[in-house]
Amino acid sequence: MAEMILQIDNLTKSYGALQATKELSFEVRTGHIHAIIGPNGAGKTTLVNQLTGNIFSDSGTIIYKHQDITRLKDYRRARLGIARSFQITHIFENLTVSENMALSIFADNGHNFRFWRNSLNSPIVKQKLPKALARVDLTERAASMASSLSHGEKRQLEVGMALTGAPDLLILDEPMAGMGPGGTVELSKLINTLKGSVTILLVEHDMDVVFSLADMITVLDYGEEIITAPPSEVRQNSQVRKAYLGEDA
């Protein structure tokens, strides 16, 4: 049996009467691009937040690399190698592109109580920064303030920041949201080049992207898992068609 990086068992989260995730169980295989799809309100973002530790689950367990992380705080999970991008772009708008990247490079290199040397002159940054910028095609924008980037560039920066720590599990929460067609192609290409080197959990609305990239797809509806299967199988599934297109389809 292939190695599983993430095992989710009976995960539940409710907000009052609303069950955002309902006894959810599935596994993510190491090295896969595993997509999570589902209509609006299916509980995709809640699930992502449960996995990254931004929200604690009511019940159920999350096993990451054979370790129970259900109760770990977000920054601890990040140190274990779970990196994420947010649905709404989260970068440091008040820092330059290089500084944004440097900060994420520092994040997994010990403590940050270094008061003296200029952050960008740090050996670890000098070593990793050029590659990190080149990987997401932002070398020319290095000195710009992050707030001045275009929407697509901010996305690239965010993905780039998630990648600096060489994470084992990369969670991308709707990376294509709000991007023009050109940007979508660029980012799909980037994700495709990462295939194999990092396990990716991809939450996405854009079906073309999902079906072209994913090895495995989990379909959610009203917080419940409908199916976890390879793309070809999901395409044929009648329940999925119903969830997306309504009763008559």
Binding site: T52, N54, K73, D74, Y75, R76, A78, R79, A83, R84, F86, H90, I91, F92, E93, N94, L95, E99, N100, A102, L103, S104, F106, A107, D108, N112, F113, R114, F115, W116, R117, N118, S119, S122, M145, S147, M161, G165
Partner: protein, 330 residues
């Protein structure tokens, strides 16, 4: 002119002006200016330390005067015990009073830093409006604590009969005291500059903009914010120790929230999130106060609208206007 050039020009011009000020003042026969500008330098240290919190770390502290006051009282209390020839305390060990600046100023810094550590550790459990209110509440608590200290003058405060002593330097001399303050201001601004551009500074600045992103990167911001709060408190303590020396008088008024507010105004006026801005802000604020107060006791009537105009039209305060820098951190 390009912004970096204007910035360089402004900074060097400012430094030169401050360096030659005592000579110019004595040539003009206005030696009063030397004492006045010593006060500006001291407030500038406090304002720069507050800007580390407000402008760089995004922590709105409305209790910064507490650390200024604690620093001032350390100098005052040690002086009091030194002239009364009795120890400051005799348990668990005997600590004698002192007038030596090499002892009391570092002690003022340490005492304020320690107070900031304890208060910050509690305040940083809260965010936003709650943080503002709890920093204010602690400062007022300390204010009333010192008001109730009858031994040290209570409401009336303590008078020092001379300034602290420093080997080789006569702090009692206004010119020498001025250069002593200037030296410390330069030193503090340099330290702060190194700090905000360091790895630590990057975490602090990042956290002020996007706490959640920082956590997602695996950095828990609490320790860094607390360290920053302590460093800012230490800077305020240094300013307090100098202020006690300057006026040769300490009173609980130094801890009152109105002083916290004035420091905040200096930062906003000069330029939030810049290091040289608060220095300019302190100078402009105190000069305006001085000039306006000559004409009317209701000087705030004029200061208020001026501040409003600056804050509305200049995002980075007067410093931003002069250097033409809209929004970079520098």
């Amino acid at each position: 002119m390009k912004p970096p050039l204007r910035k360089m020009l402004f900074i060097s011009l400012g430094a030169v002006l401050l360096l030659i000020l005592p000579m110019a003042a004595s040539l003009a026969g206005e030696s009063y200016f030397i004492s006045f500008f010593s006060r500006v330098l001291i407030y500038a240290i406090a304002a720069v330390s507050l800007d580390l919190l407000l402008g760089y770390a995004g922590m709105i502290s409305l209790g910064h005067a507490a650390y200024v006051g604690i620093g001032a009282y350390v100098v005052g209390i040690f002086f009091y015990h030194s002239s009364a020839m009795e120890p400051v305390f005799s348990f668990p060990f005997v600590l004698q009073g002192s007038e030596n600046a090499l002892l009391v100023l570092p002690l003022a810094v340490v005492a304020s830093a320690f107070a900031a550590l304890v208060i910050g550790a509690l305040c940083l459990r809260t965010r936003g409006m709650h943080f503002i209110m709890i920093t204010l509440a602690f400062a007022q608590m300390i204010y009333y604590f010192f008001v109730s200290l009858e031994k040290y003058g209570g409401d009336d405060g303590l008078s020092l009969y001379s300034r602290s002593t420093l080997p080789g330097v006569d702090l009692g001399d206004d010119v020498q005291f001025y250069y002593f303050c200037l030296f410390l201001l330069f030193g503090f601004v340099f330290l702060a500059w190194k700090l905000v551009h360091s790895r630590f500074g990057l975490v602090i600045r990042g956290g002020s903009n996007n706490q959640r992103r920082l956590q997602a990167l695996g950095i828990s911001s609490y320790r860094y914010q607390l360290a920053c709060f302590v460093i800012a408190g230490a800077g305020a303590g240094l300013a307090g120790g100098l202020l006690a020396n300057h006026t040769e008088y300490v009173s609980p008024g130094l801890m009152h929230w109105t002083l916290s507010g004035e420091l905040m105004v200096m930062v906003l006026l000069g330029g939030l999130g810049t290091l040289f801005g608060p220095v300019l802000g302190a100078a402009v604020f105190l000069l305006l106060e001085e000039i306006l107060a000559m004409h009317t006791e209701h000087w705030m009537v004029y200061m208020g609208p001026f501040l409003v105009i600056v804050v509305i039209f200049a995002k980075r305060g007067l410093y931003g206007l002069i250097t033409g820098e809209g929004n970079s951190n520098g």
